[in-house]
Symmetry: D2
Subunit: 341 residues, 4 copies
């Protein structure tokens, strides 16, 4: 058993980490912090955990030394506090966007501010097992990628590695309301968010930098909020290089993911779910990837889908933890998703 602390446990990613780690046979959650809710029970705002834990929130300052610490929110406005907290753990998983980019200038472009500790950029291992499994086995600081970045990267990576596509790629990301967090404002009221197709980032969504870095492609990304609570779908439009065949594309996906426990290649000819969509993946750690190809025009659509809070966040973190600790990679992550849902 290893000891775990979650810094920022009251949000949706915090709740999902709790759900997964409370059910993890090798991990013991010893502290969950929330400045706002210190002293209150964690199942108060994570009602799905009623009866599963007697934990109460503590102030961040009261978090003890642990084996593993998870950060769910940004530490950019409290650099010293974050550094101090980091000292209390042997291994740190950062689920915020603080350390996802490797370049201060790119950070400035996408986040509209200077990074206060640019020397940290590039020091974290990306928590994306399918690309960084070996580094994760020894990592001490892991940065879990953005939810849409993970979906798009897993959809595009086999094509990029196999050299089947031109570098210019557009990604259309669609995401549910839980991506806006538990303290979102009036724009996320049910009456305003219900039924939307909200192009909240019509151009240059910040995840495009992560996808570009992971795949080496030139990604332009648009993002739309849709009427769902959970779920991400990334639709990448690419052009196949001349001579590319559907068989080659299929082989590239199969090769990339043959041994991956949490990536399913989906490319049926028919059926309601012949291309990936999050509806059937909610709660699970699966990412489904698939494609559609028009050999005449060379158009190639690559699609990835996942639950933004699981494979797009907390699940990816736990999978990375399992790798780091040498446990079976699916420990605590075997839930299979629901249909219909």
């Amino acid at each position: 058993m290893i000891s775990i602390a979650i810094i920022g446990g009251a949000g949706y990613i915090g709740g999902e980490l709790l759900r997964l780690l409370l059910g993890h046979p090798e991990a013991e959650v010893v502290a969950v912090s929330s400045t706002r809710l210190a002293g209150r029970r964690v199942d108060g705002d994570h009602p799905n955990l009623r009866g599963r834990t007697p934990l109460t929130y503590v102030e961040p300052g009261a978090v003890p030394e642990v084996d593993v610490m998870f950060f769910t929110g940004s530490g950019l406005d409290d650099v010293d506090g974050r550094a101090e907290l980091r000292q209390r753990a042997k291994i740190v998983f950062d689920l915020s966007s603080d350390l996802r980019l490797g370049d201060p200038e790119l950070f400035r472009f996408h986040y509209g501010r200077e990074h206060p500790t640019p020397e940290l950029l590039g020091t974290a291992t990306p928590g994306l097992p399918e690309l960084h499994r070996e580094q994760l086995r020894v990592a001490e600081l892991v940065s879990v990628p953005g939810c849409m970045a993970t979906a798009a990267t897993l959809a595009l990576m086999p094509l990029a590695r196999a050299g089947l596509i031109e570098p210019a790629v557009t990604v259309d990301g669609r995401v549910g309301s839980s991506g806006s967090g538990a303290s979102a404002g009036e724009m996320n009221l049910h009456a305003e968010r219900s039924g939307v197709l909200r192009l909240f980032a019509p151009l240059n969504h910040r995840h495009q930098a992560e996808i570009s870095a992971f795949t080496g492609l030139e990604v332009k990304m648009t993002a739309t909020g849709v009427d769902a609570v959970r779920g991400v779908q990334a639709v990448a439009r690419t052009t196949a290089k001349p001579g590319t065949t559907e068989a080659a594309i299929r082989a590239a996906y199969r090769k990339a993911y043959a041994d991956e426990p949490f990536v399913r290649v989906v490319a049926q000819k028919r059926g309601n779910y012949r291309l990936p969509e999050p509806k059937i993946l909610l709660g699970s750690n699966y990412c489904e990837v698939g494609f559609a190809f028009d050999p005449d025009s060379g158009q190639l659509l690559a699609v990835g889908a996942l639950d933004n809070l699981v494979k797009g966040g907390a699940g990816n973190a736990v999978q990375s933890l399992n790798i780091r600790m040498g446990w079976a990679e699916d420990t605590g992550l075997t839930f299979t998703g629901l249909h219909p849902m």
Copy 2:
């Protein structure tokens, strides 16, 4: 043309009043107030009105004398201000809950506070045309009933008047998220409000006092928030007096509403919409009422449905205005609802 002012135009009821009155051939909206948004265009937060009006919000203090004034929010915390505003209009329609109850004690029970101007209780004519049409023709102060109260009252009133039911009635009200208003809190975030069956008032919902007063029945009311933006359905469970026949019930409804322009009696034997539900009424001023009767046990379910912002609020106010001014009762209210929706 009469001049109109809307006090509190930035909320959902304010927006709906604007929508209806901007399309009303006899009314001119000359002022819309919002303390928070004074100086901003009204179509900024009522985007459906883009291109329909150049109006901007003004401070309440800048509202001129008008023929008719509509209050959308409570004036209980600003008694003097409200009284002063009221002086500037010949006729006032109050869509808040301030003046709906006739009795200070009942007000205290349901609203958990003392009414600051109890002498006003009982002075307003209820803005419920089907029950108070004659009084509305000369009213100077009109209080529009609660949305669920209107639905339940219109469903129950024919039965009560015809003496067909026992007085003890339970009402189960179901309502969409727009009923919580445009400034609702975290509990109304999409991620929290989506998919709910939230018994926000498990017992003694405040509208029960209005329904009791309108119908003379002894009403016990429960209210549930459902996953819809607009819409109210009131399901009233009653017991028919011995000897009551289905024909008598049907006759009571037909008699009550034969000449009503905005109440539709619905009691098909089959079909998806054989009992009233708001889905097909959204945007319209219709209230549908219907029933199910089991002659063996005497169980009688009376059901009413409407759009909470229209027949449950702004539409009822405009219909009452039409009556007050002697115009055709459906002026500005002819939209028929959408199917499918």
Copy 3:
């Protein structure tokens, strides 16, 4: 390991049984039948199971002898076939409504037809562990109750047993579209079913007979289809006997469910989820029960919520199986539900 066959695996209950049993460490699913889909892969219409099983559907006639057999659909129109199938298993769990009622006349009233094998009525043990755990340890034929019956029964039973309420009870059941099954007709098209509050059984819903039988109360039941895929909420309106206190009610619930692994008593004073609703239970085998009480009037609302396909169906069956086989009762049923969802 025991061998399992599922008769009628292509529907939603069949899919849920598959999901749970494929993850069950003591059970091996050896055959899944579907007349319509024989020869096709089971993950074709249960896409959440992609990568979890290579099973294909077989004709019912090709199902081998097994330890345990689950029926998901009715056998009333094929009495001989069903009897023959039953011979091939040591233990049978029937999730259809065929054997839920004990009385042919009641069956006729609620199902509008004669039961073809009335001698079977009353021979099955109800698959409701909280009421019939001891009988289930030795049962050979188990009939799993209706989803709304389970929710209402678990909400009412503690009150009935403790003698705290009058016998006349009304139940308002709300249920998602998965309750209509995978082969539902045009009335369940998304465009028709979205946003509904459809009183599909305004009076005398058939589950009322089950609730009455389980609790000894006189239940009158109404049922509404709501805009959700999964989930049941049963709202029971009762009257407390004179002198009943909130403490006594609370004690009755605690006593009834103190040792129950899958019933959570929920009765917070505040919070979005202070009364049971299915939103946070989807996919889990929990039933949450709670209440609201007005000591002045004696009104007592008892509420139960669950996932209709899990605790309201397949999960209850697996829990009953675990009891029957002497396994830990939560084997294969530990998923905790998701929030937000």
Copy 4:
């Protein structure tokens, strides 16, 4: 008053035509046909029209000679019958996809069959007032474009006409379930269609041929079914020619639509609805268009939104009728849309 017949009135487009034409002061609907429902009341499956019309469906053969006839469904499988029907009207509006394309080969590519009367292709005037107003004034055969084609065309046309963009364009169309019609199959069941992001046409959606023909651009189109009943959003990704400024783009839109009664140019800097989305347009005949531009990279996103059954179908037909008859163009089309919805 002119006389109107609707051929195929039982579907969703038929219902919407009925709704609009029953409220039209210059039109009298004298016949509505449905082979399946002949003899039944039209408000049976269009429940929003209860109380608005006593019409019943007739067999197509019983439709009399009229001034104007609307076809809602395809006539390709009954060429003679359709030709015969067409003889009974002076002016015909075809809302099916039969006559939308001008080229038999393109028809074969997109519809997977030979057009049985290729000589008719190219003979109909497109029912898109913003592009074909003058031709519509004298047209005798009008073909109303596809819903997503209209949204994308209105978003792209100003840019194409002003020569501001490169010809290669991708369009991502998103559409609600009403686009699948009232007789859709199991894939459109609520349980299967709820929460989807279904890429039902991942490449080469058939509307791309219409958009290309209208705009002269080289369009590649993807289409996704989303969890909404009504609504279309078309997101077109283009590249601005070098030197293009935001002011020039804005001017192109303003110039194109300054006098258009039903196109609103939306390009706010902030706000929830700063880019077009159908949520606030449902029921209205408006199309909103807007854009986002990144001058550094030249990326230009053009967005159009509308209600697929109104501006994307029946409303466009009625607007074209108004033009054809010389009536005010917004006659019968003044509904403004609802917010929140």
